[in-house]
Amino acid sequence: MGEEIPASAGWHQVFGSVALFFFLTQAFTGILLAFNYAPTPGDAYNSLKYIVTELTGGRIIRGLHHWGASMMIVIVVLHMVQVFLWGAYKKPREATWMVGVVLLLLTLTYALTGYLLPWDNRAYWGTVVTTQITAGVPVVGPYMLRLMGAESGIGVVTFARFYALHVLLLPPATLLLIALHVFLVRKHGITPTPGDEVKPPKKFYPGQVFKDSVAIFVAFAVLVALAVIVKVPLGRLADPTDTTYIPRPEWYFLFLFQLLKYFEGSLEVIGTVVLPGLAVAALLLAPFLDRSRVLPVAKRTAAFGLVFLAAAGWTGLTVAAVQSTPPSTEVSVIDGPSGWEELSPEELAGVGYFKKENCASCHALGSGEHKIGPDLAGPAIKRDAAWMIAHFKTPSAVVPGSNMPPIQLSDAQLNALAAFLLKLTPENARKLEAAPAFALEGAMIYQRHRCGSCHKVNGVGQALGPALNGLAQRRSAEWVMKHTLEPQKLSPGSTMPPYNLSPKDNDRLTSYLMALP
């Protein structure tokens, strides 16, 4: 504490302390999460959902861990940039710098392995891409894939490996390297700038400690604000058959993701291995590549230029990746849709089948009423669509001893029912169940006639015809009813086939469409 530091030391040297603080915070929140987390694929999702929806403070703890990971990357990079700009990697501090580069790689490994642990669609598909990239590495790829336990796809083995890496292997390794890093910093002292020799040194405490504390406090305040204000999404349970999900990596990996688009075929290895490998090698060897004398920071124009180029390249790639990403249509499961208007026609039709088949005589929807079957909006009931459909067809084959009768509906109708049940949360159950009859009937007619193969409602469906949200602002109900029966009469040239609906069905379909927001 009473150590002497160079006269030039100051605000620019706070980043190392902030990074250390963030590592400790991640460890703390990570341990708290582990207290209520089951590290196996199915349970992981349910236990995390339990943490964020049922435990007081759970959402904040998860928020701190999630955003802490992002901020950790930002801070570690800022720390490196500062050291680089000031030339602090030069002799005798080469080893300190190299240990720092390894710590950066460890930080990225935390990010990669932690990404899988929520086991939602985002986690699953993100990791599919990561493992496929690894598999494509020449020579060692297949072995790496086997090490990750992902040879036959991502599953329980992959999950166990990622979890073990994330909580068993990485933390002690990080602690050791941080200890070595800090030991080396103390051994060689804070890097002076030319001119410091003639000025009297300062004390580390309290001046620099105060600056470090202020910086840590500011960064921590940002983290808390993020954790409190921005809800971390928990998507749907990972579904390997979900072809609508567009996987994207976490923002700090987007530049790598974008880079891969530019190398096709056999050149891909340049994007996956050669360029990242060269970058890491250049970082590691920076102290040996640049052996010039230490200059004051203001005169290190080449260093500034390099950092600027790197930042510009990163930004360009990231922006390109963001622009090529269609907006996510996935609704966070924690919140779920809050009213029937937000459901897709298929899901809303599912509500209709739920009522038509009198499911409610045996199942409650979130009310906690005692009924023969389980409450379908209960916090612990989360199944994927495939399970549900198998269960609907032959209940006792999937749940031994179940005395539920098989549901006599077509596959498409069972799909709709499952789609609705997937959207259920204890909070929205009552509102969804209370959807008006005309909307349910309308949605069932919409689904039966496959209107979704040409039209979009609430972002679901094809875009061949116009999207039907806000129809009431464009057309009258009378016009819509006539148009359904004879499209070409009202809009010549339309490719829509005529639908010979009964007046009653036409009226219900139209009422539903006119009610869409």
Binding site: F28, G57, A380
Partner: protein, 159 residues
């Protein structure tokens, strides 16, 4: 010296705030109960007609237990005592001393805990031994000739 003291105070103040901001949610997270503690469902445990009057009967039934993020179906037992035509008392099967399973001693006509020899009457009152309070009871409801059991009616712990 003035400036030095100010800085030191600042350091303590900032770290105090950081510690509090981490400790408060962590404490709430670990110590407060989950938000949706729901009452247990009513489960069918026996036919009223098959319960003899005045002699306890041990019944085994399955019930759902909310266990963190899971609802697990597990075997439970209860001691049912028919106290009238439409009245049944259901004792939870654990001794109120340290949770051992007690048994009915038909000769002495009392419940006996084998661990520390607490004895209870047919009404669940402590007759002797270290048990601190009468036997715990399930909430009971009789519907259509069936005995339905709810959650264990937690007694007020009097130390």
């Amino acid at each position: 010296m003035e400036r030095r003291n100010l800085l030191i105070r600042g350091i303590y103040g900032l770290w105090g705030l950081i510690t509090a901001a981490l400790a408060v949610p962590a404490g709430a997270y670990l110590l407060l109960p989950p938000r949706t503690r729901r009452q247990a469902d009513w489960v069918e445990a026996a036919d009223l007609a098959q319960l003899p009057q005045g002699s306890p009967e041990e019944v085994v039934f399955r019930r759902n237990r909310v266990d963190g993020w899971k609802i697990s179906s597990e075997k439970s037992t209860a001691w049912l005592v028919r106290t009238g035509d439409h009245q049944v008392t259901a004792f939870a099967p654990q001794c109120t001393h340290l949770g051992c399973a007690f048994v009915w001693d038909d000769k002495k006509r009392e419940f006996l805990c084998p661990c520390h020899t607490s004895n209870f009457s047919l009404e669940g009152k402590v007759l002797s031994g270290p048990a601190p309070r009468p036997l715990d009871r399930y909430l009971v409801k009789i519907e259509g000739g069936k005995v339905l059991l709810g959650s264990i009616d937690q007694p007020v712990r009097t130390a």
